[in-house]
């Protein structure tokens, strides 16, 4: 087990002496820091702090209290930063807060809660308030918001009236106001359905369903099946649509125009819907163009609110630990024949530049407690350094070679692939519940001997590590059986000792690559777990599944440390940021969220995909994120500014694999359409001009330069590309299952 050492991380040469602003703010965490890990009790933290969240919290508290779970009540209250006395102004950090500012924010937040509850009778936690909060959770009550009666036959008139108005306004406003169509359409339809006007609903759908943007097709398909009030109850998708307000971003001018129109016409039906179900984010300035809107829309619940993406994200890399001098000699010995002086120089340069500069955007070294480097890890680091000196510098003129690993006779059962960082092992997850591991180097896979045999070994000998291996078990591949459903993802630990696999059976399993047995089954997701990914430093891992949450785990805790809740549909893919402080998740709700591992907050919401997001990749410098979805597009995001900065079009089917080259110059994407494509990521990142205005508003004008950025397309022979991996020397490895038909 990758045990985490007690106490804060100590580095050999340099000791961080900076004041810990963050842990000051987080009393709870610093308390836990004694154990060196993150708090092990789950913390549910939504996206932006919202009033509803608070109400939900109160409701949960009430529920726990009713069920005599006083201990949980205490924990939850402490974690959520809710005092017994709600009006008390003293806060000891809300859920590990985001610094001083956060405290203030949380304060205002709480006061808002108390204001709402003040609307009810005086005492803050009176049954009435609780009832209200409870109701908020209750499905039927959520839907009852639709119960307001209007004349069902007039709905079409209302809608077409608005349509005519929007079509008649000036061009610059039309695009913005057109955003209203889809949410209004859905809500009006649902209102009709809820009030049992089935025929009117159908007619309404038929009349206006075709007007909606093509990227809402999938949702409309779900919607059109719904024709009865009873259907609404079971359908989570639409429940979400109701509970989470659809966010629209509209310029002030356009909004005024709309408001005036609706007031003139006394069009209360639509005005009510806008008031109740939509969230209109008004900004000052030029209205956006159609293409600008189109690039950002498409998500399940509209665009991200602007303030959500304002939180500071420490996207810099952690400092590389210094490696001791004697190891240098070792390397020189190994490299004896080749030009010594040159090697030394380059190595020193690269090391020096890395260790001396402190990235201003980097998080504190011990913001997240990380496992201490073991000797073997250090050896591996040295290997890494050595390899990276031989790394090929890639660029538009210097494309990588691609080695393709085809899985034959997989009968379409290959669902997931992963390579170890040093590219020595390959793991495949299969639909028949097995995980298979191959050694792609001549070195065969061996098990550790059994306990009885291990006793006989001379523990003092030098090659004890060699002796513990059982030569009889050497083989090129091993099968791991344990799951009871298709395996949807596999992930190697960075030290190559463990493998994670997630499956349809709702578990994540940790396998030992020494004994080739299952060590732990992490149960928490009760539904299929679509993806899991190890932290780049090991020890932590993240998983996401059909239950719409992503969970952060530590290998030595059987319960999750954090629960990242907020996505409105399945979490389809999860990735750790290279500095391990953040987790990115992609979802079927067509958004990407970035979560802070420290406090579980959602710090970024990226919208713009028009289909479920199936792959994510961080650039090696941690600044950028690439995401691929079923719509065949790759989108590039600037994490620091929270902006979309690029769109790479070319694939014709779902993109299941994305990877940046080791230096980040090339982005490789692999897709269901049997191609591997290479993109010039340096150019993509450089081309974007981020002036203050775009940074402030988030309104980016995307250059349409996919064709210029596309460096190469490589077709495989009816083999969808499921995984891509750059070796340490920048050779690209691709893998996929050959489907013969």
């Amino acid at each position: 087990m990758a045990a985490v050492q007690d106490g804060p991380m100590e580095l050999d040469t340099e000791k961080e002496t900076k004041p810990e602003i963050l842990s000051d703010g987080t009393s709870k965490l610093s308390g836990n820091a004694a154990s060196g890990t993150l708090s092990s009790s789950p913390l549910t933290a939504g996206g932006a702090p919202k009033q509803e969240d608070q109400q939900t919290l109160i409701a949960v508290l009430q529920f726990l209290r009713r069920n005599k779970l006083s201990e949980s009540v205490e924990i939850l209250r402490r974690e959520a930063g809710l005092e017994d006395q709600e009006d008390s102004q003293t806060l000891d950090g809300s859920g590990g807060g985001k610094g001083d500012r956060d405290g203030g924010e949380a304060n205002s937040l709480l006061s808002r809660v108390s204001i709402t509850s003040a609307a009810a009778p005086q005492s803050t936690l009176t049954p009435i308030t609780v009832k209200r909060a409870n109701e908020q959770l209750d499905v039927s009550v959520v839907l009852s918001a639709y119960s307001q009666q209007g004349d069902p036959s007039l709905y079409q008139v209302y809608y077409s009236g608005l349509k005519n108005f929007i079509e008649s306004v000036l061009d610059c406003h039309r695009a913005e106001l057109s955003q209203l169509f889809y949410p209004l359409f859905v809500h009006m339809y649902l209102e009709l359905v809820y009030n049992n006007h089935e025929n009117e609903a159908k007619a309404f759908f038929e009349k206006f369903g075709g007007d909606q943007e093509c990227y809402y097709q999938d949702d409309l398909r779900v919607l059109c099946g719904l024709t009865k009030k009873e259907h609404l109850k079971g359908n989570e998708v639409l429940l979400d649509f109701r509970t989470s307000r659809f966010v629209l971003r509209i310029s002030r001018d356009s909004y005024q125009l709309l408001k005036r129109h609706l007031q003139e016409r006394h069009n209360n039906q639509i005005w009510n819907i806008i008031q109740e179900h939509l969230y209109i984010d008004i900004f000052d300035g030029m209205p956006r163009s159609k293409s600008q809107i189109d690039s950002m829309s498409g998500s399940f619940a509209g665009e991200a609110r602007r303030e959500v993406n304002k939180v500071k994200v420490f996207h810099g890399l952690l400092k590389e630990p210094e490696i001791e001098v004697p190891l240098d000699d070792e390397e020189d010995e190994a490299e004896n024949e080749e030009g010594k002086p040159k090697k030394k120089k380059t190595k020193k340069d690269s090391m020096g530049s890395k260790s001396k500069k402190q990235d201003p955007n980097a998080p504190q070294q011990n913001r997240i407690p990380l496992p201490e480097l073991k000797d073997s890890d250090k050896l591996d680091k040295i290997m890494y350094m050595k390899e990276s000196t031989k790394r090929i510098r890639l660029g538009p003129e210097n494309l990588p070679s691609i080695c393709f690993y085809s899985f034959l006779n997989a009968y379409q059962g290959l669902t997931a692939v992963d390579f170890t960082d040093d590219s020595s092992l390959l793991a495949g997850g299969f639909a028949d519940s097995t995980v298979r591991i191959w050694s792609v180097t001549p070195k065969k896979l061996r098990k550790v001997k059994s306990a009885g045999e291990l006793n006989l070994i001379d523990k003092e000998s030098d090659d004890v590590l060699e002796r513990i291996m059982d030569e009889k078990t050497a083989s090129e591949s091993k099968i791991l059986c344990g799951h009871s459903g298709p395996v949807y993802s596999v992930s190697f630990s960075p030290d190559r000792n463990y493998l994670l696999s997630s499956s349809e059976d709702g578990t994540v399993r940790l396998w030992s690559l020494q004994t080739f047995t299952c060590l732990v089954g992490y149960k928490g997701h009760n539904y299929p777990v679509w993806d899991t990914h190890f932290s780049p430093f090991g020890y932590y891992f993240v998983s996401g599944g059909h239950d719409r949450v992503a969970r952060l785990w530590a290998t030595d805790h059987y319960q999750p440390l954090r629960i990242f809740a907020g996505h409105l549909a399945d979490v389809t893919c999860t990735r750790f940021h290279p500095n391990s402080n953040y987790v990115a998740t992609g979802s079927t709700d067509r958004t990407i969220r970035l979560w802070d591992v420290l406090n579980g907050n959602c710090v970024r919401i990226f919208t713009g995909h028009k289909g479920p997001v199936h792959s994510l990749a961080f650039s090696p410098n941690g600044k950028f994120l690439a995401s691929g979805s079923t719509d065949g597009r790759v989108l590039l995001w600037d994490i620091g500014h929270g902006l979309m900065i690029g769109e790479l079009k070319g694939h014709t089917d779902t993109i299941y694999a994305l990877k940046f080259s080791r230096d980040g110059e090339i982005l490789a994407s692999g897709s269901m359409d049997n191609t591997v494509r290479l993109w010039d990521s340096t150019k993509a990142f450089d081309d974007v001009e981020t002036d203050d205005f775009t940074a402030a508003t988030g309104h980016i004008h995307l250059p349409d330069n996919s064709q210029e950025l596309l460096l190469g397309t490589y077709h495989s022979k009816s083999t969808p590309v499921t995984h891509l991996h750059f070796t340490r020397r920048n050779l690209l490895l691709a893998a996929g299952g050959y489907s013969s038909q």
Binding site: C224, G225, S406, N409, T415, M672, H715, S718
Partner: protein, 622 residues
């Protein structure tokens, strides 16, 4: 479009009848109409919901096909017990029955004999998953290795050919150079061909490189090395025409047969975009149909078979490639008709023209051939009854006659109203009227007969694909038919033409015995008799000069006098062609030798097999 589809989606609801049927199946007798309606709506909604969930599993399983497993998992999500044991060999396992005013779909459960199951050998264990690495790209360039797809995908080929302004590829240049050597024959299709044939051989002098290239390609195509063959497929098109020319000049029938089979293979290859090379291929094929002479000894060699095969090939290409812009079919038809109308056309060419036209379908026969029947009949009569001319002419006329009868009978049988009066036929069709009439009567009878019972007289060996199915199979109606009959006698024509084309059936590649009986007689009797008569006659066997390749088809031509057959022409031919399996097959290359004793035996067995008409016939016959 999208809107329409969505609306359709929206309105799709299970019929209430199925609700009733399901209710009955679980023992609920009478279900109210209202409840049925409510149920069907609810069930439809739930099914859609489950399908949407199942799609998720498909996406995560990284597949394009939804499987039953996905639906199981989706059911599991909803806490519904998954379905157990659905498995079906067919897409729709239901059978339909009606009676007593009720319609019923039921699942046919066959009785299975346990001992059969026990005694059948175990199926092969599926292979284990294995890993194979190859280079997809080396420094940004994709190497041309078998593991990678062909460098130019079909779509690309299409855009290349539809946008000729794009950069000329090296292959095209090469093609051009060859064409100039060949006197640009593609422009004037048939004429060019014939002109060329007239030219002395010296005009075909090739550069050393071209000769080498030609040799290489030929060796690879006709030779035994399959790997080489695969590689050179791309180059084939360029050289194809060229080869045909050379071979026509050399009168190498065997090689021409091979080349035609190659065209067939090219056409069947779904990855090739042949449109680009049609101007190369079509002249070559047409040459093989109408050329005056295709072999060294036209009196004995069966070049007729080649013509028939090429004609069928032509029909196939017309069907697949003819568009409003290139208008292949009408151009080809024009060419044939022109040659047919020409009085000076030789019998061989005439035969080719008729065959080519006949393969194009019933309509063509009706409009172009039947009106010509009397003229052709007169011509045949002149040869047959006239002073003894060369044997070649006689044979040619003989073939033309049987061909005409064969193709026309079926059409006439369909179009002409009853009754079939010999006199009337004679008036309408002249010399051929009498024979045609008997053929038509026979065709009608057989069509009726076949409708009732299993036909015992036809001999058909179902073949996986019309390799060089030298036989005149019923392709006149459906040129896409993949089950040509081998032994064909005019009397069975209608039968064959009414048979729907069966799709290609995968069968183990093996030697095929193609047995063809062409009766020159007017009214041939039952085939079985014909067969026995062939045994009685002392066969003269001649083999086509063999080329030094192992895949050389062995063409045996047996001819004997069959006095038993009634009719004016005593000449009958039985051609037994032993062909190795189609060029795509990799195995069984060596088994091309036809055991001399097999011909009657295999025919016998074929007779039996035909009755069962099972696709397994092929596997059992060897």
């Amino acid at each position: 479009m999208a809107e329409e589809r969505r609306q359709k989606l929206c309105s799709v609801i299970l019929p209430t009848e199925s609700m009733k049927a399901m209710a009955e199946s679980v023992g609920v007798g009478s279900l109210q109409e209202d409840s049925c309606l409510a149920l069907s709506e609810e069930v439809s909604y739930r099914i859609k919901e489950i399908a949407q969930d199942a799609l998720k599993f498909m996406h995560h399983g990284k597949r394009r096909k939804l499987t039953t497993g996905d639906i199981d998992h989706a059911l599991k999500l909803k806490n519904v017990e998954p379905l157990y044991g659905f498995q079906s060999q067919e897409f729709i396992p239901f059978r339909f029955a009606s009676g007593g005013g009720r319609e019923l779909h039921f699942y046919e459960e066959k009785e299975v004999d346990l001992s059969d199951i026990i005694n059948t050998p175990l199926p092969r264990v599926p292979l284990d998953v294995s890993l194979k690495a190859h280079w997809l790209s080396i420094d940004g360039v994709q190497p041309a290795i078998p593991e990678n797809p062909p460098p130019v995908p079909k779509e690309q080929q299409k855009t290349d050919s539809t946008e000729p302004l794009k950069a000329v590829k090296p292959g095209q240049e090469e093609e051009g150079s060859i064409q100039t050597k060949g006197q640009g024959a593609s422009s004037a299709e048939v004429k060019g061909k014939e002109k060329m044939r007239m030219k002395p051989r010296s005009t075909h002098e090739l550069s050393v490189e071209q000769q080498l290239y030609y040799k290489e390609i030929t060796e690879a195509c006709v030779g035994s090395c399959e790997a080489k063959r695969a590689v050179c497929v791309c180059n084939k098109c360029y050289l194809f025409l060229f080869q045909v020319r050379v071979n026509v000049v050399q009168n190498n029938l065997a090689l021409l047969i091979y080349l035609m089979r190659m065209v067939k293979a090219l056409m069947d290859n779904p990855t090739l975009y042949l449109e680009k090379y049609l101007h190369e291929l079509i002249p070559a094929v047409v040459t093989c149909i109408v050329s005056k002479q295709l072999c060294l000894r036209p009196d004995v060699d069966n070049h007729w078979a080649l013509r028939d095969f090429a004609a069928r090939l032509m029909a196939q290409s017309c069907k697949t490639f003819s568009t409003t812009t290139n208008n292949i079919q009408s151009r080809i038809t024009k060419t044939f008709t022109k040659a047919l109308l020409d009085d000076k056309t030789q019998w061989t060419t005439r035969y080719g023209c008729i065959a080519g036209l006949a393969e194009l379908g019933h309509d063509v026969i009706k409009t172009l051939i039947i009106p010509r029947l009397s003229v052709e009949g007169a011509r045949i009569k002149a040869v047959m009854d006239g002073p003894v001319v060369s044997n070649i002419d006689k044979i040619g006329a003989d073939h033309v006659q049987s061909l005409l009868l064969k193709h026309c009978a079926s059409v006439v049988a369909k179009t002409r109203p009853l009754p079939d009066m010999v006199d009337q036929y004679k008036v309408d069709y002249g010399y051929l009227g009498t024979m045609l009439c008997s053929h038509v009567v026979k065709a009608r009878a057989q069509a009726a007969f076949q409708a009732q019972t299993v036909n015992r007289t036809t001999l058909t060996i179902t073949q996986p694909r019309p390799t060089l199915s030298v036989s005149q199979s019923g392709l006149s109606t459906s040129s896409g038919s993949r089950a040509p009959s081998i032994i064909k006698v005019p009397s069975s024509l209608t039968l064959m033409s009414t048979r729907p084309g069966t799709p290609t059936q995968p069968s183990p590649p093996a030697t095929k015995y193609i047995v063809m009986a062409t009766s020159a007689g007017a009214a041939s009797t039952q085939q079985v008799i014909t067969l026995s008569s062939s045994q009685s006659g002392s066969p003269v066997t001649s083999t086509v000069p063999s080329t030094p390749t192992s895949l050389q088809p062995l063409v045996k031509l047996e001819s004997g006098n069959t006095g038993a057959v009634s009719g004016s022409r005593p000449l009958q031919k039985y051609i037994v062609v032993s062909l190795p399996s189609s060029s795509s097959s990799l195995e069984n290359k060596s088994s091309s030798v036809l055991p001399s004793s097999t011909s009657p035996i295999s025919m016998e067995s074929a007779v039996k097999l035909e009755r069962s008409e099972s696709p397994a016939a092929n596997t059992q016959s060897h």
